[in-house]
Symmetry: C4
Subunit: 275 residues, 4 copies
């Protein structure tokens, strides 16, 4: 994610040193730094959670505040250092992790003016995704990357599916609004749409459920539909996943094509016989 | 969906002009028209939803009525124009979108006599499906088409599966009616069938749930069955989906290999260049 | 299902005639007979359902009784006729449909002694499975057969999966019994196991749900496990289904092997080159 | 699981005899021993369940205690015998079944000091996994092994998926905590995270459900997300399962084809007889 060769010779020695410690984890100090960072993120997340529990907040209010200050100041210092020691500052600031590092700080300073924003600090958790790099979990990263890629590749199909699903839920919800005629939980169309989504996704809270026989009959049809429809996103992702599985090991020597099936004997891009 | 070459030379110029604006979106005015249409559909849908909320309806009743009239009149005019400017009128009127365009109007005029039918206007949302054409989202259309085709191709298997499921639910529901012996939620067989469907589809509202130990034991078996059965529609659609990704319409002339990916340029079996 | 050539020449003519009408549907009368049968099954099922609804039973009690008698006597006559006109009587009586035809009658006669058994008449619905034959829905039968075969082939894996799931649920339920310490819904271990199954299958009635923070934490882990585990039966059936798709069209001329993949060029059983 | 050739000649005859009876099931006595064991495990599990039901415990308290003592003493004797008759004692003690055999005893003796631990005896159920060996269910064992292997092989991907899911649930739960602002069920962030997991896994107890329109809107989005996300673990396991069915360990020597079914005798690519 972060470029490694952003440092030109004229950089002072301590900048180079800090760069290695902060951005990489191939030195003992660098690893230690990363582990401390990870621990602080976890502690910070737990504190935010505990602060929201009145009982705990009353007993440990001061402790929480102190810890929050310490961690937030540490993160702020770390963020500034990250910008300082990297050559291509713009690159880092607008990278995925650069933005997350920034967002992990904003709520703290914002909470002086708008106390409620404090809870947005929970987004700090996203910094944990760095964990793969820290522990050199290459295999894990690779698998994670595969999942993300499969989702990305099937995202277009999933969007269409969701559009169908939303239109379907809106129509079903409206019909149900007419059927149940304003009974508890079906007082308005948006309420009925909420019920339709709860039902079709098989979540089924039960806070809203049909009361009239007609409504129940209708619900039964919707449930059976939802039960069959769930197969669609699964089919999409499974097909995509299976596809992605094959690409990885083989590669065409001539044209560099990586999309090679297990049973292919010739590259489908350039026709070269595969080894 | 709509034929483009329905116009013969003797058509007057404004007819041709209107045809291009209304039916196609390759001119600036045509695009504008489509976007306005899309916006009106969305506004119309939102108004119907908001009208069903007593609070909002009391405050904005007049506004809603006025907007509904304007939009409905606009849609009526548009519908008539569509019929006027197209050559093969019958073709359009009985096409998928022609019927939807018509159904999007009927409830408005019907609501003068039967007020409750007004809510059927929600079907206007289906007109939104034109969105793919408007924004030239060819890739999206293609993917959507793939999903629809996979569903269509596996529809026969899904119907059979649903028939099995319904028979299964009816029998299980009746058995449960005997087991729970008329307790709350199991007073009648239809009620018990409703419970069986709620359970086997894993929706689980909880408005009806077994009370006796015997009933719970029975429910546990049903849930485990439902949990295994859910695999069936998924398996059906997944198998269909995977199939559709490849075979489509290509075949290798030399070796007859039908397993050709969309992006393949050479047969992976014999290395022949594909047409 | 039913053998067609059970009739030897010495059978009287009316026996032959009745055989064609009752067992087959390639004559006009035979088709009519089947459709009447189907209608009676549907009516019979609906009556049983409606009888269980006190309101309807009070108003139409006599009608229901009369119809039940008529239909049951018709079915009895039909069953006897079926046995009479078929040559290999034993074969029919112990065939799948023969047993169902018998079970569809028993509850009626049994209900004179044990009234509650009347509701078992709902099993008559299973006779509806003949519908495929009636309407000559060969494609449907074929697809239905495919589903049944895929389920049968993966049944062993699914049994193992269910055994794992049951052991898992028993252990989780017992642990939860200790965690929630006899609170509402977790008073006994069987109750807690019921909760565990409701949760792990994602049904989630909500009639029993964890109350203590510890119990909720535990439940969260269980839900995440259940969410991942659901993939297993799906994976099993999907793999089986995909496999079964290929077998049908091709067959090896030399050894009759039907298990031939789409991309196979040689029979994997005897090595013969495939056409 | 257990080594069979741990016995050297100098072992006394009764040791050899007991070894065959206890560890193997190829003698009549060995089979009987295994079946008695299985029955005792089942009885023991049922007793623990029934003991937790106050009504049953009051009536049969003494019976339960007596049975528990008998079975536990039998299991203790069996465990000691198992250690005695096996040559490589360490191997057995730290094997999978050795540990389970031990854990199946500990809670009984521990319950003299800490009564609540008695319920841990439920872990005895795990001993039932030996059932496959007892009945020589080789095919079942093989299938079970396939499932376990598919899960093991996809475990890394599932861990990553669960990590994503947990981070997602924590963030969504925290946002919901702000949206619903401390209403029933959303009083604290951990509570809201509990709700998020209940929703995203489609369990949907309904003990906590959104009340404000804003919260419901939010929940709808979460449900649709969960509905799409469920495809991911399914896709992972399905891809893995399909893979395991084929490639296993075979490969064609002549053409290198690795796509060989379990029951293939000839390579389907080149027709070579397989070893």
């Amino acid at each position: 994610m972060e470029k490694e060769h952003n440092l030109v010779p004229e950089d002072t020695l301590w900048k180079r040193f800090l760069y290695r410690v902060i951005y990489r984890s191939d030195t003992r100090l660098g690893k230690l730094f990363d582990i401390i960072l990870l621990a602080l993120i976890l502690v910070s997340t737990l504190i935010i959670m505990m602060e929201s529990v009145p009982k705990l907040d009353q007993r440990f209010h001061l402790t929480f505040i102190v810890f929050e200050w310490i961690i937030s100041l540490f993160f702020s210092a770390e963020y500034l250092l990250r910008i300082m020691v990297v050559k291509n500052k713009k690159n880092y600031i607008f990278s995925f992790f650069g933005i997350i590092d920034f967002l992990a700080l904003v709520p703290f300073y914002l909470s002086f003016f708008f106390p409620v924003t404090k809870y947005f600090l929970i987004f700090r958790m996203l910094r944990m995704l760095r964990v793969f790099r820290i522990f050199n979990l290459l295999d894990f990263m690779n698998d994670g990357y595969l999942i993300v890629r499969a989702l990305k590749n099937s995202s277009r199909k999933i969007y269409i599916f969701l559009l169908f699903l939303i239109i379907f839920s809106v129509i079903v919800g409206s019909l149900m609004f007419m059927v149940e005629g304003g009974r508890t939980g079906f007082e308005t169309i948006p309420q009925s749409i909420y019920w339709a989504v709860v039902t079709v996704t098989t979540v089924g809270y039960g806070d809203v459920s049909p009361i009239t026989p007609m409504g129940k009959f209708f619900a039964v049809i919707l449930m059976l539909a939802g039960y069959s429809i769930i197969a669609v996103p699964t089919g999409i992702v499974t097909a995509e996943m299976r596809n992605k599985r094959q690409n990885l090991e083989k590669i065409c020597e001539r044209c560099g094509n990586e999309d090679i099936d297990d049973d292919a004997r010739y590259c489908k891009q350039c026709g070269k016989k595969l080894a």
